[in-house]
Point group: C2
Chain length 472, copies 2
């Protein structure tokens, strides 16, 4: 998997530090990296929360009027400054012309989703007609599974991972039941090997090879929400197809984070939410992908009038004339307010490319990893110590992870999180064991990462003290 | 059906005109009716488009700076003035505290839907736990049908009307196919009698009685979108239950329009959109109702993590512990921006009651009907004439219709519509034959109706002239 011709981001970082005559651990290096960053100006397109506005901030520890350290794009992205304007444009139109907004204005409501599907397609590596913008992620997953999961006595299984995101797990479970099958026998949940956090690609492919004849549908995430692992989507797709399975992906954590080539990888279907790295705000509108080769499929669907071809939709004759491709999967009329925040976000993405973002992202996350390893290493026989430590459970290979590192600690997770919050770090805890830290290449800087690592040091000490005194 | 003890609204109107010593056709009467209207002040809570902002307005015919005549709440309600503030409150929160908005603020995003389900329940006559606010209408219909339409060889039919709204038609069709049945034999589409526009309740009940043993699910609208007919929901529900069918309703045109008592009527399930009489804007969030008696059902569902009980949802252990009642049908996390416009709207409704609104509505629509009958009657042997005329196809019984009248014309529908648009009337055409005029009791006045009827007169003349000259 390692590409011998490409230099590891950590190697690049060290080389650059050398070149500059700086230690990679110092603030000066972070500043210089930011100065070199061709994407640096994007930070200014987002609204950064201030420490003093955060609910648990402690003014005795940090300045209130500083920007917080926001490393939580894996959960909820920051607000593009243009979002408010796009949303209010639609509200103003509604006030001004009422009903006529359906066919007038920059974003005619009857086509609100079509105003954002082209740029969405670009971000996931799809043809425009392969993408529909609609609903929430899990709703879309259901719409897709109705087409792509059609169990028969011989082929009734769904392959997923044991740590799939709960919503995907429940969606699959309920679809299996819908068809009268039993999740106990139809739901194949792959576990990492004993003592490992990360599923090995070879194990996934082996399972598909051995059990594939009984598998109707393979469903993985593009990036695992808990570990940050990137699944090898092209290899899984190929293996699934070789056994006659349909292969789909939940791209919640992948979209806007890594480069995707859904069309070229021959993925059958995919869905994603947009409130994480696509920065559309809580409950943002979701996306769905159906490969062009299925554009005129006759699979079962849960249809609605919005899947009807537009030019004859309003004939209201109750004769379904389905739009080709992903548009045929649309059900209800689209919500312009949600399309508007997506528009604001995609405009920003459209000023750069996923490959440029990914290049920066690899450096930024490697930088985080190096600092963690340097400052808070797990004790080893060669380096025994009793200081609190951090342990990254995300893949060490930069190609096998996105921007997020998932970190376990030697002290109480809850205490570490509490202390980070006091210090203006925004990140999230995922039960049972990790804090997820996701430097988003669009709006995070090397300085953010440097500051986080510093604040983590203070937090580990404080958390350690607290758990000791709690024990008394 | 006529209640002898209750006076017809037209009788009331004439009595009031007499009392005032005014003709009911004059503008003065409209003004006096508005003065008497206890709900008059609600108009001021909405943004009224001006003529000059409408795309087809003709300044040679009307003043640009007058408010338009908006009679289109059946399609898209006007914007409550507070909507913008509610939406921007959530945008501001997102900018200010990012991720923390999930559990902070007036509308914590993790509960955005629960902030609006109680007032929603009030509007449809439901217990709070019977209601979930989510998705679009047709998406909700699918989620509900997955539970309530479970065909067997002996009971595989769905009873609906031949003129059901297309989206409902397609939804049912696709669900029948999903289960391997054939719409040609499983979809029973009731037609009005020859030469009639309105389905007779007796015919619906008779069909349920005769075919009910084979019917899994009865699905009607609460109000027919094309004719404005109110279906007799309690009677249809009772008849369905007597034959062992589940009974559900699409309340798109009923909610916010007429009084609903879903719980007391023992309706099994229902869904509605909110962008019509609930004034939430295009693509507004929809609602779903599941009767309390099904609160702990074990029906098949299309599940997602948002249907999981809140207190254990984030344990992320992939063991589904479904919330009771309608909340268990939620799939994806809710969109606060859409909940915010619903909040703004429901606050207005909560200042009055559906019974007060309905009382005004009956008068307002009867007034429209009387004026149309008076000014543009269809020629009869007793009153032969060759002037253009309007013909109301909505039920004449005020209890059997909501606020909308559907009107056919003796001259080209398209021409009439074009002329109305030039004159600042906002309404809509539904193919094949009608213009729908819906005086919404929340923000429409007797003056609006009076003005509309005047402008319709001018439009009929102009449309008539145009079609005559076109013929030359
Ligand atoms: C009766 C009825 N059902 C459904 C819909 C629309 O469905 P959706 O909100 O899912 O687009 C409409 C929209 O006008 C309607 O009138
Ligand atoms: C991998 C994954 N799938 C699905 C979801 C959420 O689904 P929905 O947007 O339908 O609530 C999330 C949300 O965090 C997620 O991380």
């Amino acid at each position: 998997k390692y590409d011998a011709t490409s230099t590891l981001p950590s190697t690049k970082l060290k080389a650059r530090a050398n070149e500059l005559g700086l230690s990679f651990t110092g603030l000066e290096f972070a500043k210089r990296m930011d100065d070199d960053d061709p994407l640096q100006h994007f930070r200014n397109k987002f609204i950064y929360p201030l420490n003093e506005d955060l609910p648990s901030f402690d003014p005795s520890l940090i300045r209130g009027d500083d920007e917080c350290v926001y490393l939580c794009g894996n959960s909820l992205g920051l607000q593009p400054k243009e979002a408010k304007q796009c949303v209010n444009r639609e509200l103003d139109k509604w006030g001004k012309i009422g009903l006529h907004g359906h066919f007038k204005g920059e974003m005619p409501w009857a086509f609100a989703d079509e105003c954002v599907d082209e740029l969405s397609a670009k971000v996931v590596g799809a043809k425009r007609e392969e993408v529909a913008i609609m609903n929430g992620l899990t709703v879309n997953l259901h719409l897709l599974l109705v087409s792509f999961y059609r169990p028969t006595a011989k082929r009734h299984k769904v392959l997923l991972e044991s740590r799939a995101f709960p919503s995907d797990h429940y969606a699959i479970e309920s679809q299996i039941r819908l068809h009268g099958y039993d999740p106990a026998t139809s739901m194949v949940c792959l576990e990492p090997r004993e003592g490992e956090h990360i599923l090995r690609t070879e194990d996934i492919l082996a399972r598909i090879a051995s059990e594939g004849d009984e598998i109707a549908c393979v469903l993985f995430s593009g990036i695992q929400y808990y570990t940050g692992q990137v699944f090898d989507m092209p290899a899984i797709t190929k293996a699934g197809h070789e056994k006659g399975c349909y292969v789909g992906f939940d791209l919640a954590h992948a979209v806007g984070n890594i480069e995707l080539q859904l069309h070229d990888w021959d993925v059958d279907f995919a869905c994603w939410c947009t409130y994480k790295y696509l920065n559309t705000g809580a409950g943002g509108i979701a996306g769905a992908f159906i490969h062009k080769k299925h554009a005129k499929n006759d699979f079962p669907k849960l249809s609605g009038w919005w899947g009807h071809k537009m030019d004859t939709r309003f004939n209201m004759d109750n004769k379904m004339d389905l739009a080709n491709g992903a548009h045929g999967y649309r059900v209800s009329n689209p919500p312009p307010l949600l399309c508007a925040t997506l528009e604001a976000s995609l405009k920003v993405f459209n000023e750069t490319s996923m490959s440029a973002l990914r290049e920066k992202s690899k450096l930024l996350t490697a930088y985080l990893e190096m600092l963690l390893d340097e400052h808070y290493p797990r004790p080893t026989p060669a380096n025994p110590h009793s200081r609190p430590y951090a342990e990254v459970i995300s893949p060490r290979d930069p190609d096998q992870r996105g921007c997020q590192l998932s970190i376990m600690f030697s002290v109480s997770l809850k205490n570490v999180y509490t202390e980070l919050e006091k210090r203006g770090v925004v990140c999230d805890v995922r039960k049972p064991y990790v804090i997820r830290i996701a430097p988003a290449p669009l709006y995070n800087s090397f300085k953010d990462v440097h500051r986080f690592v510093q604040l983590l040091g203070d937090s580990l000490v404080a958390a350690h003290v607290n758990s000791t005194t709690e024990g008394v």
